[in-house]
Amino acid sequence: MRNTQRSQKIAFFFLFLATLLIVVPVGLIVVIIIQKGLPAINWQFLSDIPRQGMRAGGIFPAIIGTFYLVLGAIIFALPIGLLAAIYLSEYAKDNILNRIIKLAIVNLSGVPSVVYGLFGLALFVVFLRFGASILSGSLTLGIMILPIIVTTSREALESVPQSFREVSLSLGASKWQTIRHIVLPNAIPGILTGTILGLGRAAGETAPILFTVAAFYLPQLPKSIFDQAMALPYHLYVISTQVPNVDEKIRYGTALVLLFLVLFMNLVAIIIRYNFRKKKKW
C-alpha cells in the first residue's frame, strides 16, 4: 500500500517535471521577447518604412508582406487541402496505392522548409516565370502547409462517427449529401485546427520565402501579387545578421510583432472554431 502511494507520488513528480520543462522555455521566450522588444513598439515602428539602412524607422512593409503571404498561402492551400482530405477519407478505397499516398502526405510535412524554397524557386519563379513575387512566395508557402492541412482535415473528417453517416445514408441521402450536410459541418473545428497550425508555420518560415519573394530592403508597399515584398521572418534575419549595429530593441521588437501577428491570426481562427463548437449539438 505504502509502496503504491510512493511510486504514484514519484510518477506524478516526473510527469509534472516534464510538463514544467515544456512550459518554462516557452514562457521564457515570450517574456524575454516582450521585455526586450516592448520598448521599440510605438506607432512609428508599426506604420513607417525602415530608415537609415534599417537601423531606424518602422517595419510596416514587412508586416504587410507577411500578412499577404500568409493570406495567399491559406487561400491556395485550404481549398485544395480540404478537397484532397475529403477524397482520401470518404472516397478513396483502402488499397496499397492510397495508403502510400496518405503516408507520403504525412511525411511531406517533415520535409525541411528550405527544400520547399528550392522547389518554389524552380517551379514558380523560374519555370512559370512568376519571378520573385508575392504569388511565388504564397504558392511555395501554400505547398509547404498543404500536408499539415490535408492530414489534420482527414483526421477531423474520420473522427466524425460512422453512425452519423449510416443514419444519413439510411434515410436515402446520397453520399455527397451526407458529406456536405453531416460530415463536413462536424469536422470544421478540426479542420480549423489544421489551418491554425498551417498559419503559424507559414508566417514564421524564412527558407521558403528566401528565394521566392523576400526583398532585402524595399521601402514601399507591394502594388500587386507580382511584386516582391519584405516579410517579417526574413527581415528579422537580415537585421540580426546582415546589417551591423542594429539596436537590440528593434530586433526584439520585430520578433514581438511577428509573434503577435501569428497570435492574432490564430485568435481569429480559434474564435471561428469556438463558435462552431458551441453550435455542435453532441
Partner: protein
C-alpha cells in the same frame, strides 16, 4: 403481397460467411420478428434489406433478393433506402435540432417548401407519439432528449420520408421498460400502414409484437412460422432451446 423475397441468399464479410442460403418471404403489412443469439446473422440480414451492408469494404453476396418484385441491386440505392427506412439499435440522433432531425431526410429528397416540411415534421412526430413532449422546444438539440424520446425521434425521422418498410434493429436494447412499451406500442400502430421487420434480442418482445417470427442461428434461418406457433410448438429443437433460454 410479398414485399421482400430472398432465395438462397449468401453474404460474406471478408472470410466470414455471415448468411448461409437464406430463403425468406416478407409479407406486406406484417411485423416479422427476427430472433437469435448474437452473431447469428440477424442484423446482417436486416442490413441487406436496405443495402447498408455495402458500406463494408469486404462485403460480397450471392443468391437472389428482390423488393416489390424488382431485384434489389437494380434499384437505385437512394430511392431504395427512402422506401425502406431503418431505426438503429442505439438512439442515434443527428447532431441537429429536434426539428432538423426529422426534416433531414425530407430536405435531402429535395423538399424546399418550408410549410410543407413543417407539416411533415409535425405529422411524423405525432405518428411516433413524441409531438406533445417536444412541440414547445423543436429548436433544441436532439441530444437534450431522454433515451426513449431520442429513439421515438429516430422513428419519426424514418417515418418523415414516407417509407413502405421500416427495419428495426434491436430498437429497445438501450431503453428502460416504460420507454420500451412506448416504442412497441408505436410499432403495433404503425403496422397497418407499414411493413415492419424487427430484429430483437428480447424473445418476449418478439412474442408480443411479431405476426411471424424467424429464428436465425450461425447465419442460417432455422425456422420461420407464425409467432404463436413458433413459441408454443417449435418444429426445430434448436428453436425450442433458444426460446426456453437454454443458450443465447
Amino acid at each position: 403481397m410479398v414485399k421482400f423475397n430472398a432465395k438462397n441468399l449468401n453474404i460474406w464479410f471478408g472470410q466470414i460467411h455471415a448468411l448461409k442460403g437464406v430463403n425468406i418471404e416478407i409479407e406486406a403489412n406484417e411485423i416479422l420478428s427476427v430472433i437469435g443469439p448474437s452473431n447469428s446473422g440477424k442484423t446482417s440480414f436486416l442490413r441487406m434489406l436496405n443495402r447498408l451492408n455495402e458500406l463494408h469494404a469486404n462485403f460480397r453476396m450471392s443468391g437472389w433478393l428482390e423488393f416489390d418484385r424488382e431485384e434489389i441491386k437494380r434499384i437505385n440505392v437512394e430511392s431504395l433506402r427512402k422506401r425502406v427506412g431503418m431505426v438503429f439499435a442505439l438512439p442515434l440522433p443527428l447532431p441537429l435540432s429536434i426539428f432538423e432531425n426529422v426534416a433531414y431526410g425530407v430536405r435531402m429528397h429535395g423538399e424546399k417548401n418550408r410549410g410543407k416540411v413543417a407539416g411533415i415534421v409535425e405529422g411524423a412526430l405525432k405518428q411516433a407519439y413524441l409531438w406533445d413532449e417536444v412541440k414547445d422546444r423543436l429548436g433544441v438539440s436532439a441530444f437534450k432528449l431522454s433515451g426513449g424520446q431520442q429513439q421515438r425521434l429516430c422513428i419519426a425521422r424514418t417515418l418523415a420520408v414516407a417509407p413502405e418498410v421500416i427495419l428495426f434493429d434491436e430498437p429497445c436494447s438501450g431503453l428502460d421498460p416504460i420507454s420500451t412499451a412506448k416504442v412497441e406500442e408505436a410499432m403495433l400502430r404503425l403496422k397497418k400502414d407499414y411493413t415492419i421487420v424487427l430484429v430483437t434480442n428480447n424473445v418476449k418482445q418478439a412474442a408480443r409484437v411479431g405476426d411471424r417470427t424467424a429464428f436465425f442461428l450461425s447465419g442460417e434461418l432455422v425456422e420461420l412460422d407464425r409467432t404463436q406457433k413458433l413459441f408454443t410448438a417449435p418444429a426445430d429443437r434448436r428453436t425450442d432451446g433458444y426460446i426456453r433460454g437454454e443458450f443465447g
